[in-house]
Subunit: 440 residues, 2 copies
């Protein structure tokens, strides 16, 4: 049994919010409302030319010439989609279209088109171009939404969600002084692309200013691809905590110090790496734990390491679980240290809280996928996204499409064109369903 999207919205969203769904004339054509997949993939191919690398993929870091040219192309496609386009003070490209209810808060959707150095053609691009395509489809089919909507191409997502954090008021003076991958300081970069770092308060939005935010993105992991699932419904964006870990023992001559008289910091660090893995997989769930960097001092083949520095990163949707795992790791480290008289010190580098997606928007996404006959799976986003900033302003929903082999931040990043079209159609359905829900 399939139910009509509008009916669904009335039942699911209306019932949850207490609001009443208002029936309205939807599309002028009787054909089902679908994005133009060819145009979408052509725009993606056109975008891939900006900052193209000889070995494949792109280097299109924020504020670079390639970024500026790509933004100009995207702004053109946004205008083609009958959006009113502006560069906001933070440097975000914002395309707005009015709804029937002039006073209603907007539905916002989008993603980014900046890349990491030597990145691929899908991370960000898929969601950004699909958002424009959704707007284009709505314009072509003369669908007038109740709420206004905004398509946003966030600036400098890869550098640290700078565009979206300007909206949520999280940018600090220190952030603006950071040097970006382009070589420019963030404030210089913002100015370079047409923003005004001195007037960021203008773009800041308050909690409730966004009726709903959707972002389509490639998974960047291999779960959907391995399982052959079409659409990922994102449960939330994981919290990310990182620590510097220092293991201290006693450096000594590797030839003259018997095995039972050693306080080998690297042996303790090795036990630590294994223990982190064991502790992280000991609980059910999608949490991950990584030791990504390690170095031993003095670092000679014939000297027992007296000190090791390494990192610890834990991610999970549940911040409390991160802290619980961390406490177990800390206490097991003390035990490891006791074995060979070494000590462990932890110093926090970064702590980003998790951002849950909205339960109603997850249902909206799930319903849109079901209507299209697409299989879905609920999964966390292990990577950060602009959606996590916008979660401070309103309910968020995220749609994932499969990444072949789970490869990301690499020229080998790939998502099949058909999967991208699926994702864009789910985004279209979700935006309309949320609009029809009239929930505030």
């Amino acid at each position: 049994m399939t139910i009509d999207r509008r009916e669904f919205a009335a039942v699911v969203i209306g019932s949850l919010t207490g609001a009443v769904a208002t029936p309205r004339a939807s599309a002028e054509s009787s054909a089902p409302l679908r994005v133009n997949g060819d145009r979408l993939n052509e725009h993606l191919a056109a975008l891939s030319q900006f900052g193209k690398n000889p070995q494949g993929g792109v280097s299109r870091v924020a504020y670079s010439q390639a970024d500026i040219e790509a933004r100009a192309a995207a702004a053109g496609w946004m205008r083609d989609a009958l959006l009113e386009v502006a560069i906001d003070r933070a440097g975000n490209l914002v395309g707005r279209r009015a709804g029937r209810d002039a006073g209603a808060k907007p539905i916002v959707f989008g993603s980014h088109i900046d890349s990491v150095p030597e990145g691929g053609n899908y991370d960000g691009d898929v969601g950004a171009i699909s958002a424009i395509e959704v707007a284009h489809t709505l314009a072509e089919r003369r669908v007038i939404t109740t709420r206004p909507f905004e398509v946003v191409i966030w600036t400098n997502e890869e550098g640290g969600l700078y565009g979206s954090r300007a909206w949520s008021g999280q940018l600090t003076a220190e952030d603006l002084a950071n040097v970006s991958s382009s070589g420019l300081r963030i404030e210089e970069g913002i100015r370079h692309i047409g923003g005004d770092p001195d007037r960021l308060a203008d773009v800041r939005r308050a909690k409730g200013d966004v009726a709903a935010y959707f972002e389509l993105h490639i998974e960047q992991g291999g779960i959907l691809d391995a399982a052959g699932i079409d659409i990922g419904i994102v449960e939330g964006i994981v919290g990310i905590c990182q620590w510097d870990v220092t293991v201290t023992g006693t450096p000594n001559h590797a030839g003259t110090t018997p095995m039972n008289q050693r306080h080998d910091a690297l042996l303790a660090a090795a036990r630590f790496v294994e223990m982190v893995n064991r502790v992280v997989v000991s609980e059910p769930g999608a949490q991950v734990g990584t030791v990504g960097r390690i170095q031993a001092w003095p670092g000679a083949p014939n000297v027992i390491p007296g000190r090791v520095s390494c990192t610890l990163e834990l991610r999970d949707l549940d911040d409390a679980k991160i802290m619980r795992l961390y406490e177990r790791i800390r206490s097991e480290s003390i035990e490891i240290g006791r074995q060979n008289e070494t000590t462990f010190e932890f110093s926090a580098i970064e702590a980003n809280l998790s951002a849950k997606t909205d339960a109603r928007l997850r249902e909206v996404v799930a319903h849109a996928a079901r209507e299209l006959g697409l299989s879905t799976r609920l999964l966390p986003s292990g990577a950060g996204h602009d959606a996590q900033s916008i979660a401070l302003l309103g309910p968020i929903g995220m749609i994932f499409v499969p990444s072949v082999g789970g490869i990301s931040h690499s020229p080998r990043e790939f998502t099949r064109p058909a999967d991208i079209v699926n994702g864009a159609n789910v985004l279209l359905g979700a935006v309309l369903a949320a609009d029809e829900g009239h929930w505030r």
Copy 2:
């Protein structure tokens, strides 16, 4: 019961070699033959001024100005000991004294006075100054040995046994082109201290050219100190084999790659470090195994390491045991790699075969210590020494004195003055006993 040293030599050495001990008038004084401990420790204190560091210890790397000045002082003390002093073509300081039998092969003893950068005042110095003191004592007491003897201050021991390897013919053109800690290439350094790198063939000696070689040295480990033993009788100098180990997995996003889909090179490397420790301690014996250097790529907190490079070093007196342990480590590495689809590659950096001390000379040392009422323990030398080059030319014997806390290659290196005097007296007794043994 104590037996007379000469009698002992006749029994132990004579019987082993089939030679007959020749009684002779030994010392002119009736006082027991002992080194002058005060003079010995004064010379050590004087030596510690050359290259002295404000924070303690010395930086007296071979060919440096401090090395040259210290060698000049040592040459003066050698002349005071009535030695005929020369700088050989390799840059070794050689002090010779004739014996009664002009055609006999010499007994050689000595050590080195160059240090590692920021080294201590005992490694090398104790053996070198004690050798001079033994010669001085023999001269003062008008002891004429049967064989000639040579006190040698080897050049650039710390850089890689350059002086003694010139004697054993092991120096290659590549060795001479190496850059030493002084900044000079070895050939430049040799010239700088009065040698001639073009005529190294002149110093090369043949197998049998050394009747016996003795070297007194600090233990550089903590075995004697921990056990309260006066004198270590060295069983041999360990073989040292080093490998570069590369672990290859797949680098990936630490947020989006589930724990069970990872090919984490650092997790495999951690299991390797633990396994090396387990395998090395699984057999009885004094073998040691060390992973001293490690690095992970790409080396970011949020990226699963795709590659790790580390070192493996194994040392033991028995070269066959080193290879047996290595084969076990290699085969267990394959198993570790199977667990998470990573691979291990081993590439040999260095392989120095072990050098056994001579059984008769160990007995000579043991007897000299017993005559002095000193406790002894048989132990391997985990560090390399010039004695291992000379082992190619004749029988070697080594005498260890305790290192407090086992600290070495550090300004904190320390050996008690009384222990040094004990060591020098054992060296004196051993040289005389070997001389009296008349063995060839």
